[in-house]
């Protein structure tokens, strides 16, 4: 996939280290995300991919290293400053994380109401319906999350992520638990939304089909390090055994 991306870096990660007791998941990880780029982080389960994006959004604290989002060091931000940053950075959870005690409308309204004073365009209802029409699920507005299929829940979660029009979106395994057809639809939706809103994205995945559809650039996270980086074509043609095992 090719898009127009500039060289301006929106996320810059340097020397990131994170351990859980004796398990060193990130050893010295460095990567940069350019504006308008879709960067896929590819790695095995348990390799620290989700830990990486949770560190970026401030849900986890790294042991060492530096994470800058729009030039601001995430580790030194106060709680309020972190909240401000999170308006600009969306996060799509692997489990969708829809609030199961709320309707779809309330789920989408929730982040909007939190930041309404900063949101001057249109009224809440229009924004909710616009977000739902983006994912083709306007009819579900008054349903509960439990009434929807896994694929529909993923679309709603994507709509909720996009509703604040973030500049960066972090996707945590967006196709996990979905059948290949629905997974492909979600991947195309990610690309469409990226084009429509001109977002930059980090996509965590080990689904090669998803990687092929969404990636401008791939970073291989192996043994806690940025093992290799390149386009899908470059990496899929690599002779390196560790890289090849993902593409076989």
């Amino acid at each position: 996939m090719k898009t127009e991306n500039t060289n301006t870096s929106v996320i810059s990660i340097k020397g990131l280290k994170k351990s859980f007791d004796e398990n060193h998941v990130l050893r010295d990880f460095s990567v940069e995300l350019a504006e308008g780029e879709n960067l896929v982080v590819l790695g095995k389960s348990g390799s620290g991919k989700s830990v990486l994006i949770k560190c970026i959004i401030g849900l986890m604290k790294p042991d060492e290293g530096n994470i800058e989002v729009f030039g601001e060091n995430v580790m030194t931000l106060s709680h309020d400053e972190l909240d401000e940053m999170r308006v600009k950075v969306g996060f799509l959870f692997q489990s969708n994380a829809l609030y199961d005690s709320m309707t779809i409308r309330e789920n989408l309204e929730f982040p909007l109401r939190r930041h309404w004073d900063k949101n001057t365009q249109g009224n809440i209802n229009d924004l909710v319906m616009e977000a739902l029409s983006n994912v083709g699920l306007e009819s579900t507005v008054d349903k509960m999350p439990s009434e929807l299929s896994g694929g529909m829940q993923k679309r709603i979660a994507l709509a909720r992520t996009l509703i604040l029009k973030p500049k960066i979106i972090l996707y945590d395994e967006p196709t996990t638990g979905l059948d290949p057809i629905t997974g492909k639809e979600i991947c195309h939706l990610i690309v469409d939304m990226q084009k429509k809103y001109n977002t930059s994205s980090i996509i965590i995945s080990h689904d090669i089909n998803c990687v092929k559809i969404t990636a401008n650039r791939i970073v291989m996270l192996i043994d806690g390090l940025c093992y290799a980086t390149g386009t899908f074509e470059e990496l899929s043609n690599s002779k390196d055994e560790k890289i090849q095992q993902f593409f076989d």
Partner: protein, 257 residues
């Protein structure tokens, strides 16, 4: 070795609970205030527990009166029945029974709800959407239980006294007017106010323990069940400890006044 480890875990949990309470007082009085969620929780805790409290209160009033009657009859003091029963109901039985019902229904509900939100990453989702989940989920629930417990207790007091009246009327034909005037010979605000204060602490304990157990749930769905279960057990234990302390304080207060 195992005993040392269990003691270590217990002390560690008490330490964590202490820090959780400190965090509650730090976060609880700072804006932004989540009034909508607070009122929703008040409605949920108050309204949904009301029928259970009402039925239990009525039965307790009726049963305590019927059980006490033979003892008073032996001494020929049946006429004291309304005063004796009302004092024991208002001072001790109703606050404790109300709190125990709420511990069973509310603490487990909060523990399970927050636990399930934790394991399905809903709490993280709240945080990344720029909402302080501690304020939205914990502070509102703890304030709601602290406020609703005394109200439920007062309601339970009233219904249990009506139950007591029915029992008295069954044993020795009495009028409601006579029954209430006999109650207020002995029952004063000095009996009611300590039990209201006690209920505030009961409510706080139920809310904070339910939230603490749910908020730090681990190990997936198994952890949710454990959180709900331990929330009830810990809250019930805490209620008896608070009651023990409250009785001593109320006793000192009674001696002074």
């Amino acid at each position: 070795m195992k005993k040392a480890s269990a003691l270590n875990n217990l002390l560690s949990e008490i330490g964590d609970l202490y820090l959780f309470i400190i965090k509650f007082f730090k976060e609880g009085f700072k804006p932004r205030y989540e009034f909508a969620e607070f009122f929703r929780q008040c409605y949920y805790i108050g309204n949904k527990t009301l029928p259970l409290i009402a039925v239990t209160g009525f039965i307790i009033g009726l049963v305590v009166t019927i059980q006490s009657y033979p003892s008073l009859e032996v001494f020929g003091t049946e006429s004291w029945m309304p005063s004796v029963v009302s004092v024991s109901l208002v001072r001790e039985l109703v606050p404790v029974i109300t709190a125990l019902i709420c511990a069973g229904k509310i603490a487990s509900g909060i523990g399970a709800e927050l636990g399930s939100m934790k394991v399905t990453e809903q709490i993280d989702a709240m945080e990344v959407s720029g909402t302080n989940p501690f304020k939205y989920l914990v502070v509102t629930r703890v304030f709601a239980t602290t406020l609703m417990l005394p109200l439920l207790m007062i309601l339970c007091d009233t219904i249990s006294l009506y139950g007591a009246y029915i029992a008295v009327d069954m044993k020795q034909a009495s009028t409601f007017h006579l029954f209430t005037s006999q109650i207020f010979i002995k029952l004063t605000f000095g009996d009611l106010i300590p039990s209201i204060i006690k209920s505030l602490f009961f409510g706080f304990a139920i809310g904070i323990i339910g939230c603490f157990k749910g908020y730090y749930t681990k190990n997936g769905t198994q952890g949710v069940g454990k959180a709900a279960n331990t929330a009830v057990v810990s809250a019930t234990f805490a209620l008896f400890i608070i009651d023990l302390i409250a009785v001593q304080i109320a006793d000192i207060f009674h001696i002074i006044t």
